[in-house]
Amino acid sequence: MIRSARMVVWLLPVLIVASWEVAVRTHFVPPSQAATPSDVVIRLFRLMASGPLLIHASYSMFRIALGVVLGSLIGVLTSVLVARSRTVNVLFSPTVQLLAGIPVVVWIPFWVMFFGTDEAFKIAMAAISTFFLVHLQTLQALRTVERDYMELSAIYEKTPWQRAVDVMLPSAAPAILMAIRTSLIFGWVVIFFVEYASATQGSEGLGWFIADARAMGRIEDEFAGLLFLAVIAYVCDKLLGRLQRRLLVWSDTEENAG
């Protein structure tokens, strides 16, 4: 029963790939617009073996990792300050809430103004998309830290720093980790878009590789790049899921985290 259920799970993906293969081979889709999955996989392995794809992927991964780390750190830090101080809350929260609703692409001209179009710009784009998500999710979690735990901290005369580190942040950890994980997924979209859109200014990154392949009519390379991007994004999400389960081993809901 379980075995047949597992096989059913693969039915739809296999059907999609097979339809794709047939559609290209029968010229239902023009070969100038698409490559067959089998050709894409073969090309992907060749590109990996020869090196360029891995180099481009390492550029993208570096940008997204630094962007997500920076955005998360600033997001968590500012949410703690907002949660702990009414003054900071009044100064900060209305503006952040206003800006959080704006699509991330609107930041492009502003970031170009500050950082130019090089590495710093791309990292800042990943950071800003991470920041809003992590800041708002963490703030929400910090505001709902159980009054019970705060009372316990008051009885033991914990300092504001001890309360933040010992009680508030661990209590909000499930929400913070979930926000970072979501940011990483969204970060891939942002990095791909930025590298793709600024292809004329750069010459590295998976987004650039895919844009360049499309512009030069290397359809197999374009699809191989997209497939590789999807695989990396999936593996990163799974690794973060593992880390999340490990860090939340104390939680009752840790088995649901992955």
Binding site: D148, E157, W250
Partner: protein
């Protein structure tokens, strides 16, 4: 004996409550190193009274003095074992007990934490997460955390509630042993006659709406006590007869 705790509450009600005062004209004292219990039905306001004494609730008309000093807010001097125990789920048994330390790296405080882990018999479970503990183990961690900083007053809010009879007896004995080692003053609220009698020197019977002390029973039996001894049975009989009469009237 000079009282450690002196409570005098003129009135207390929640801001949006529809009924009258929850507590009105309640006053009592707990002598140094004494164990006093307030015995009454659920909903009488016993937990609120403990929160008020701990300095966690300030919306009341009255005064609470500990060692002659007015209690103005929560402090280490008054520890509380809450009904829900309030273990921090992200800390292990050891870390939960260490939470009570002023400086967990201080050798003296480390020694103190180790001493209480031994007293409550959780050496083997020191690295366990709260979610893996039994009800009795959770209560033991909460006791150790409350005792480790040697409070001047310990407030117990039905700490043995929901435990099976064997665990309950074991914890009663352990609590008396811990009190012997710590020599602190205790105020417990409970609706269990058995817990109150076995542990206390004085038992106040309280009533609801508004909460007030209806009667007081002295338990003049030396500690450690033996369950089922005649002197305890006599007081238990008196209390149960009194409470039945009150319920009937």
């Amino acid at each position: 004996m000079e009282p450690t705790l002196s409570v005098a509450i003129k009135s207390m009600r929640y801001p949006n409550s529809v009924g009258g005062d929850l507590i009105e004209g309640l006053s009592f004292e707990v002598p140094r190193q004494g164990f006093v219990s307030l015995l009454g039905p659920t909903g009488a306001g016993k937990t609120t009274l403990l929160r008020l004494i701990a300095g966690l609730e300030r919306r009341f008309d009255g005064e609470v003095f500990l060692d002659g000093k007015l209690v103005t807010g929560p402090s280490r001097a008054i520890q509380m074992v809450f009904q829900d125990l309030r273990l921090l789920p992200w800390k292990t048994v050891l870390q939960n007990i260490e939470f009570a330390s002023r400086n967990p790296r201080d050798p003296k405080e480390i020694e103190q934490v180790e001493k209480w882990i031994r007293i409550v018999g959780l050496e083997e479970r020191r690295h366990a997460w709260p979610k893996t503990l039994s009800g009795g183990e959770e209560a033991r961690v909460a006791f150790a955390r409350a005792f480790v900083d040697q409070p001047r007053l310990l407030l117990l809010d039905e700490p043995l509630r929901g435990l099976d009879i064997v665990t309950r007896y074991a914890l009663q004995d352990e609590l008396l042993g811990a009190l012997d080692a710590c020599k602190t003053t205790v105020l417990m609220v409970s609706h269990s006659v058995e817990d109150a009698l076995f542990l206390s020197d004085t038992v106040h019977i309280v009533s609801t709406g508004p909460m007030k002390i209806e009667n007081t029973f002295q338990v003049n039996v030396d500690k450690p006590r033996r369950r089922g001894c005649r002197a305890l049975n006599d007081v238990e009989g008196e209390i149960i007869r009194y409470m039945s009469k009150q319920r009937g009237s």
